[in-house]
């Protein structure tokens, strides 16, 4: 299945779910009226994604099994482009299982490991956040995540 929207594209392997969303609820629109900026979030999971999810996957990671993976690609505003935090160039395509840690999670969930990378691509700033269901399978899961990351395309900022 192919996901497309907001200048982002991803091809989902069989059994994966995903969404490219932009928070457009009433409060977000109101906040946009006083300076807040809305930017898309891509969620990809090897498991059924619950409807109520935080931008970094809370609500989803709690229902992951050991062999599941969760990927969040979160965009930031133009003010972030090129700053030291986002200095890395390009979406990581290779994922080293040694980068993952149980400490690198927004919320520590027993057994799970995570990894986070901020980068700039196409004059757009992003954070890639990946959660693996279990560290024991990190090698295999990381390869599968790489396969998904390989399908992601980011258009140049307009």
């Amino acid at each position: 299945m192919r996901l497309q929207g907001h200048g982002l594209t991803a091809e989902l392997p069989a059994g994966w779910e995903g969404a490219i969303s932009l928070d457009r609820d009433e409060e977000a629109v109101e906040l946009a009226g006083i300076g807040g900026t809305l930017h898309p979030v891509v969620h990809l999971g090897s498991f059924p994604l619950p409807a109520d999810r935080g931008d970094f996957g809370s609500g989803a990671v709690e229902v992951m099994r050991d062999d599941d993976m969760f990927v969040a690609l979160v965009e930031y505003g133009p003010d972030a482009v090129g700053t030291p935090l986002f200095a890395t160039g390009g979406l990581p395509r290779r994922v080293d299982p040694r980068w993952f840690s149980g400490a690198s999670l927004q919320r520590a969930v027993p057994g799970q490991v995570g990894w986070q990378s901020f980068f700039t691509q196409g004059n757009r700033a992003f954070c890639l956040y990946v959660v693996l269901g279990a560290q024991g399978d990190a090698n295999q899961l990381a390869r599968r995540v790489e396969a998904v990351l390989a399908t992601i395309e980011i258009e140049e900022a307009r």
Binding site: T37, D52, G54, L85, F86, A103, L105, R107, Q116, C127
Partner: protein
Amino acid sequence: MTAVSEPRQSCSERLVTRLASRLERRGLSRRSFLVRSVMVGSVLTVAPLRWALRPTSAYASICGEGARCDQGWTAFCCTINNGANTCPPGSYVAGWWKIDNSPFCQNEPRYIVDCNRSPGATCRCRCASGTCDQRRVCCNNFRYGQCNTQIPGVTEVVCRVVICTVPWRWDPACGTSLRTDNRTRTHNAPCLPGRDATPIDLHYQDLGQSGSLLGRPVAAEQPGPRSGAWRRYERGVITWRQATGPRVLTDRIAARYVGFDGPGGALGYPISAATEIEGTAGRQVRFERGRIIDDGARSFAVFGPALPRYDGLGGATGQLGFPTDSTTPVGDGRGSVTRFEQGAIYTLAGAAQELGPTMAARYHALGGPVDSGLGYPRGPADEQEQRFAHGVLVATDGTLRVVRGVIARRYLELGGRHGPWGAPVADQEQVGGGWQASFEDVSVFAGPTTGAFALDGAVLAAYLDAGGPGGALGWPTSDRIRTRFGHDRASFEGGAIEVDAATGTARVLRRRGTRSASELS
């Protein structure tokens, strides 16, 4: 590798846990417990229905979900930072997310701000302890990434700050990219405002609570006029009104405001923030009915009709300078006085009149409007000759002389110090039941019923020789005049004095009724 200790319950937490489980063993429902017990009051105050009806612990009602250390979330900063809702030393604001329609922010968005370990600082992964917020401290190596993007990399989240103000206004180092996690909707701590928080509570929270300039609360929130409110803290005050929102006063200005009884007092609610007074070390805050002005060392309140007059004279950078006392009622209950570095303003019946520094000092030393006998000043301000309702102060050779009552009235009618009497050379004195005042060219006498009359030269000398007002002649009833025969003459209650212009001989002419028996023989 860092170690995470097991969460420990406080004494009160253990008590609640034991009570709840004991009651449940006895077959009492949580509802029964609620009805029968007044314990764990804060829990029941905050969320009694929820605690009674839902299968959740009492602490979940205060701290929300995921409050145990092993549930993976990061603790709130106020839990580990002595009540301060601020990033502790060695951490920085690294990112934030919002929670929509939060009951903790009066159904507006609530923002959770991560404080991440600063590069180069150290901290130990542990569980928060001592409250029901037993979440993790300095464990989760994660970054939301909207703030301080000049700092590269990801470090541990030390703790979380809570605000109801949009983060990019709360801290300009934060970007505007909206991120949301409504799954954290119930997260809270006892050191943060609850669902019943007032606008003042929330503003205090956003300022950092005990980590703010205000310090800790020293009194409960008080209601104010027109459905407003205010609260006092160690080093300041927060006021709130629907029309203006919260306002913060700090330090001396706040202390002065408290001294004037806050919004219910003479000043009313603040209507501005503290603003610098250009070209000085001073600052000021405007209120509904006045102003507090701080010169950098002292704060005083100026209000009522004195304030527009003060502003009209240039305020703190004008001729009066900074106030040296607050506007104070005069003892007669009719007017007010405000003293300044370079003078004073007196008010009466809505009118205000300033005095220059010399006049103000002398007038104050004489006792002001009541005790000086001069009454309130009348314009215009004049450092040489200042008029008052019942007198005048006149500068003569560097000294201010006071002239009152009928003598002052006549003096002014005749042209003041430029008139025929010249300037006064001494303060007016009480003599018997009347008054005497010495001027450059005359002496003036005013009896209780006679009016004020000026004598000079040989007539004056003869009058004084005859005993003056206390003598047989009594008080003058005319000025010294030149008759058509060329004589100088003045009339008195008991007669007259006439001076021969040619010889200079003075004759005292006594009324018959005032002569003694030997004089009549």
